[in-house]
């Protein structure tokens, strides 16, 4: 493998991650804010940029790699997690990031997403959710709400939408989080937690498409009192002065309540072995409670696919390194 000792000397800055390519999203697109947040976070990653790879599929978000001064592949629709799986498992020394959207990850690429998550491949998957197909100019997506009127659903969508976090938790993702395009500080914090996680990290980012689905997340983007900030080990409170909180029922489901007694509130435990609380929290949406959690829902350690594969190879090679002549002559030979 190639040497990876670059960037000794002056530390990297955000501008080191900018390319000479003109950024071509619509003016006002939420993607700009995410790009800026990521470029300024990257130096903190502490990984030389030649060891970072961004892989995307197809969609507006998928142009991302062109704007990151790292290695990158702008691949095909939905397949980024599969391509990234091959890269990450064969090159565990790299920091591999997948940038995807709601159509890319949850519709055409749904299978690859859930399997990457269950295997716990060492990938950081950023899903820009804008609840619409932007690049193809405004058809409904698998996260569009029921009844949504779009160009392809003039009488309203009949499709029950996916909840990306519920799906990821159901696929037993070891790290699941959510943030918002315009909340730079929070997004950076979530990216940091994702980067520090060993294994698959799944991050949903609410991203406004101001052209085809403007205002889809205004209830939390504009109104911060509806953001339920999740902090590990703390009772879940939110609102202007923390006057609201989240309480857990005996059946495991959760609801938003006015706080009278803090001891009634559920204490967030992102590291719980069981995903039940994380799943219950993912069910708090605009529809169910008018508010929705952001932050790290789940962050647990389990075997990382890339590392496990590397260990098997190491074990086999320790036993007996492969030798071509011996391989060919195995299995019974005779001489004429």
């Amino acid at each position: 493998m190639a040497e990876g000792n670059g960037n000794v000397g002056s530390p990297l800055k955000a501008k080191d991650f900018k390319t000479d390519q003109e950024v071509r999203w619509c003016p006002g697109c939420g993607d700009y804010a995410i790009l800026a947040a990521l470029q300024s976070f990257m130096p903190e990653l502490g990984v030389p940029k030649e060891k970072i790879v961004f892989i995307s599929g197809i969609g507006c978000a998928a142009r991302f790699p062109y704007y990151m001064e790292t290695y990158g592949i702008h691949s095909i629709h939905g397949r980024a997690p599969a391509i990234a799986t091959g890269l990450s498992t064969s090159r565990p020394d790299l920091s591999v990031w997948v940038v995807t959207g709601d159509g890319d990850a949850l519709s055409i690429g749904g299978n690859h997403l859930i399997h990457a998550l269950r295997r716990n491949v060492n990938l950081k998957i950023l899903l820009f959710n804008n609840q619409i197909y932007g690049l193809t100019k405004g058809q409904y997506s698998p996260t569009s709400p029921l009844g949504k009127r779009t160009k392809s659903t003039p009488m309203g969508s009949l499709d029950w939408p996916f909840n990306p976090l519920s799906l990821a938790i159901g696929a037993e993702a070891s790290f699941v989080a959510r943030s918002i395009d315009t909340d730079r500080a929070h997004l950076t914090e979530v990216l940091r937690a994702a980067a520090n996680h060993r294994g698959s990290a799944f991050v949903e980012i609410f991203q406004n498409c101001n052209i085809y689905n403007d205002g889809a997340f205004d209830f939390v983007r504009d109104d911060k009192t509806n953001r339920i900030y999740l902090e590990h080990g703390k009772p879940i409170r939110f609102g202007e002065d923390g006057e609201k909180g989240v309480r857990q029922h005996a059946d495991g489901s959760v609801e938003v309540v006015e706080v009278t007694d803090e001891s009634e509130l559920v204490v967030h435990d992102a590291g719980h072995a069981e995903p039940s609380l994380a799943f219950a929290l993912s069910r708090l949406t605009r529809d169910t409670s008018g508010a929705t959690p952001i932050g790290v829902f789940r962050d647990v350690r389990r075997g990382v696919y890339d590392e496990l594969m590397g260990e098997q190879i190491e074990l086999a090679q320790q036993k007996q390194p492969g030798e071509l002549a011996a391989l060919l002559h195995g299995g019974g030979t005779w001489t004429i």
Binding site: T70, R79, G86, T89, S90, R91, H112, H115, I336
Partner: protein
């Protein structure tokens, strides 16, 4: 008879005794063909070493069958097969899929590139995945993917990272992979795609061979998507063919199709083992940069291959993708003339491989007027058919194509040198279509699509008909 013979052996049930009847039959056959018995007996004793009574029963059944042949008077003849005239050397038995897996390992060893196989189980290709999974000691990574698409995607991702990316499948899986293979064509990264052809369309007859994927692998992707194609001709040839596929993939930075079929995959033959030291090295030639700003599509003048810059190489950070790229820089470009140039460059690169492969050899001892052209797994049957025709003092020439794209550089010349051309294929005439289109020759197909290999006699009759016409 078997049960009767095994009555005296302790510790076996009647059912177990009955199951030894195949050994009775093998004993009888061994007598009929005058085969030595020691090897079989030693095999049985080692196979059932843990159950001596079962070993004993099988050996006894085998010996009884042999004795039955000797004493019964039901047979009026006994045959003796003389040893085949094989070149001296060390041999082993090998199936096509095992040879193919070994060839991939050899290519990995000879190139120094770690082997990464992405595969989804499918008949008749699965045994390559199973074989390679056993060879982690060579640093082989096998990834059983969630589907065919992920299998090729992961292989391509591994290639981007500097591995020898390989995916194996059969027709129904190949069609699912074609979108990603198109990406590999435009990314210009090494990738070996193995298609163990089986009878189709759709699920077809999964365990039966066919040669009907040729046009699909050549043309089954959107737009102009040129790709080299190599076909193995015998089980042991799968070894060489796999190395050749990897060599071309690595040298030309291109996906390469390697075609085999269900018959080659599971068929076995004695294999004269190659000297592993004599297999030439494959130079991956990772780039260290091409001066100034890195230009990922600045091509090698001789091969037209682009530089392969793998992550981890300082200063060569670059982005590639499925969008059309500007010549040299690799930046996204919608420029009309650039697109035309890139389409032609990709085609020229693949066409140029013709200068790097052997000329088409013609077996023509008698200056015949008729040429038989075959490809892939029909080689043994077609060669036997040709021999049979010649044994009748008729003249016929035979050429077998290993490279289906590009064709060897003298193919047109060879074709135009004969009055009549017969192309036997287990499809409705795919190579014959290519030869007619490419070289304007009046080639005729001989086609049977039954999911079984040709018989030498069938090829013989077809050649006779053409030679005599």
């Amino acid at each position: 008879m078997t049960i009767e013979a095994l009555k005296e052996i302790d510790g076996i049930t009647k059912r177990e005794a009955e199951r030894a009847k195949n050994m009775f039959a093998l004993g009888l056959m061994s007598w009929l063909f005058g085969r030595p018995t020691e090897g079989t007996i030693a095999f049985l004793r080692s196979k059932f070493a843990k159950r001596p009574e079962i070993a004993e029963a099988n050996v006894k059944a085998f010996n009884t069958g042999y004795a039955f042949g000797e004493t019964t008077e039901s047979f009026s003849v006994q045959y003796e097969v003389k040893p085949a005239a094989l070149r001296p050397g060390v041999y082993r038995n090998i199936t096509g899929n095992t040879a193919l897996a070994y060839g991939l390992i050899a290519a990995s060893v000879k190139s120094g590139l770690p082997l990464f196989l992405g595969a989804y189980p499918i008949t008749p290709a699965s045994s390559i995945l199973e074989e390679l999974a056993r060879h982690k000691s060579f640093g082989v990574r096998t990834f059983q993917a969630e589907d065919e698409i992920a299998a090729v995607g992961a292989a391509l991702g591994a290639s981007f990272g500097g591995s020898l990316g390989v995916t194996t499948s059969s027709g129904p899986g190949i069609v699912l992979k074609q979108e990603t293979i198109g990406l590999a064509v435009t990314l210009e990264l090494p990738l070996v795609i193995v298609d163990i052809q089986r009878a189709g369309p759709s699920t077809g007859m999964p365990t039966k061979p066919e040669q009907a994927d040729l046009l699909n692998v050549l043309y089954g992707r959107n737009s102009e998507s040129p790709i080299p194609v190599i076909a193995a001709s015998t089980p042991s040839d799968c070894f060489e063919a796999a190395i050749e596929a990897a060599r071309i993939a690595i040298k030309y930075r291109t996906p390469v199709f390697l075609l085999s079929d269900a018959y080659l995959a599971n068929g076995s033959e004695p294999w004269l083992l190659p000297d592993s030291d004599a297999i030439p090295p494959i130079e991956p030639n990772f780039t260290r940069g091409n001066g100034g700003d890195f230009e990922p599509y600045l091509r090698d003048e001789a091969t037209l291959a682009r530089p392969w810059a793998i992550p981890g190489t300082v200063g060569l950070e670059h982005r590639v993708g499925g969008l059309e790229k500007e010549d040299v820089t690799g930046n996204v470009s919608y420029d009309p003339d650039n697109h035309d140039r890139m389409v032609r460059l990709r085609a020229q690169k693949v066409a140029g491989i013709a200068q790097d492969i052997p000329e088409l050899a013609v077996d023509d001892p008698d200056a015949a007027d008729t040429l038989v052209v075959s490809w892939g797994g029909t080689y043994p049957a077609v060669a036997a058919g040709v021999r049979r025709v010649r044994a009748k003092r008729k003249k016929v020439a035979h050429a077998h194509l290993r490279h289906l794209n590009p064709f060897p550089r003298n193919t047109g010349e060879v074709m135009r040198g004969y009055e009549k051309i017969l192309v036997p294929e287990i499809n409705l005439g795919q190579l014959v279509k290519l030869l007619r289109a490419e070289f304007l020759v009046d080639a005729t197909g001989f086609n049977l699509v039954r999911g079984i290999p040709f018989r030498a006699s069938e090829v013989e009759q077809a050649i006779d008909a053409m030679v005599d016409a």
